[in-house]
Symmetry: C2
Amino acid sequence: MSGTGAEGSKQEYAADISSIREAYARIKPFVHRTPVVTSGTLDGLSGGRNLYFKCECFQKGGAFKFRGACNAVLSLDDTQAARGVVTHSSGNHAAALALAAKLRGIPAYIVIPKNAPTCKVNNVIRYGGEIVWSEVTLQSRESIADKVLAETGAVLIHPYNDRRIMSGQGTITLELLEQVSQIDTIVAPISGGGLISGIALAAKAIKPEIRILAAEPRGANDAAQSKAVGGIVTLSETNTIADGLRAFLGECTWPVVRDLVDDVIVVDDQEIVEAMRLCYEILKVAVEPSGAIGLAAVLSESFQNNPAWKDCKHIGIVLSGGNVELGMVWNSYKI
Amino acid sequence: MSGTGAEGSKQEYAADISSIREAYARIKPFVHRTPVVTSGTLDGLSGGRNLYFKCECFQKGGAFKFRGACNAVLSLDDTQAARGVVTHSSGNHAAALALAAKLRGIPAYIVIPKNAPTCKVNNVIRYGGEIVWSEVTLQSRESIADKVLAETGAVLIHPYNDRRIMSGQGTITLELLEQVSQIDTIVAPISGGGLISGIALAAKAIKPEIRILAAEPRGANDAAQSKAVGGIVTLSETNTIADGLRAFLGECTWPVVRDLVDDVIVVDDQEIVEAMRLCYEILKVAVEPSGAIGLAAVLSESFQNNPAWKDCKHIGIVLSGGNVELGMVWNSYKI
């Protein structure tokens, strides 16, 4: 799966440019080719760089997650598919999987903890997912999911630690580099690593000199710690407004993050909230906190003052999702 | 200028498809080709029609106004241009004109009433406009503008009652019909009529069978009244959350509205606020109240129940602008 190559030989990862191109051929008729927007004002704030915002918040289901979920569901053979799919997630992957399953006409069983945000639960309901409630703990979520698997014979689709998911998310790079060929840097959020690993695998294959930077909240900075110590670090607790960025790296995503992600930029929640405000008020794009973190990273002192990133002139920033209630956005200004 | 044709002869208007195409050639290098976004969820809410949202809130300056302002400023000869431009506006036209003047390196004198929204004043400042404060009354605004004109020799650029402005706004149609060729209906806000008349002139020239529908707030429904009585109606006062839609038709825009706008759909402020919420939470696009009114119109009972619009299947909706403070959006939910 990963890390099998001897030094000097070609590293093999869970996904690659071929699986990403295959994914794109599979999902292209069903996903939105999301637009890239720009703003002279934000370019100015970034120190005169050119920022290109890839609006995955406009993706079906309101987040990039539909790319991976769609690829996973369409990859199943008919017998597998007929029994349905399962996941345990309180977030955008759940809604995305429900929508992908609906398109294929198969059931999606979504195990959701009782404390999940209402708007994300509503998305699952809107897309026809069958909700199975669990307690808040990961233990409860996993044991309920196991029970559903046993009863239905459905296929578990992990939110990120999965070749099909990573490949689906990587299709963002294919579109972005077609839309803006001069991009020299891509910045995207990191959580479980499905998004950034797919993006990195495609980008480094197409344009080896490109820089891939991950953005992570300080209250869930396991990826930065993992890079620092050279192995997967998990945290006993996380604390951030970015509810989509609390997961930890998995065995499929970590080797890619280790080798192909050039740096992890850690930002504070205040920086995320300010970036979210800029997205709304300047860019006119509604993003959730996790979706705004790429802009927060580019505007942060640690990015701006790092000589290694001085020549990052054409930066693609993935606005990963927009599923947020307005009241939450407004109230977050008070943090 | 208008209404000169005898019955049966071709009506001449202040602008036409040629002036719109010329405008596009002039402004194309400077304006954003704004994306069109779609949402299956909103299609469902609209009774299964296909809605195509033209995101002019992503235009430079945050609104479609930059198209017209840019065309007007670039149309000036060098001698005229050197003396600068003037307008009295508290809204998006002011910022757009400041930005267009900045691009040409000429002064823009913007007469702004003391009660103008902060975010719109900030936009004028950001783009380098020279603010000249006036009292709130139209009288004060006009007399201050006259004083500036006399002192500077600058050119007055009216926000809508101007061939160059109407032609610039009409370029939206050129892009929209290129982006989505199957459009059979365009819905846009109406205020002074610069936007809808430009859109209608281009659309009916390219695709004569297209329907053009204007959307107007009930508290400023002068255009609906004008259409009903067959002449320009002005109101002694207006009352709506849509601060951009309080102007009245002018002699250049009225004949186009009279002849080429198929209907004016009047909506309540509550419908505007609900449409604004849908834009944020479903479409993930931040719009100001005036910008959301096209969606409000399409979702309204008066549109949905009108048999004349039953076969409007592919509807382009112009999200005209996004200059709004988040707090205002949030507080508006309480109306």
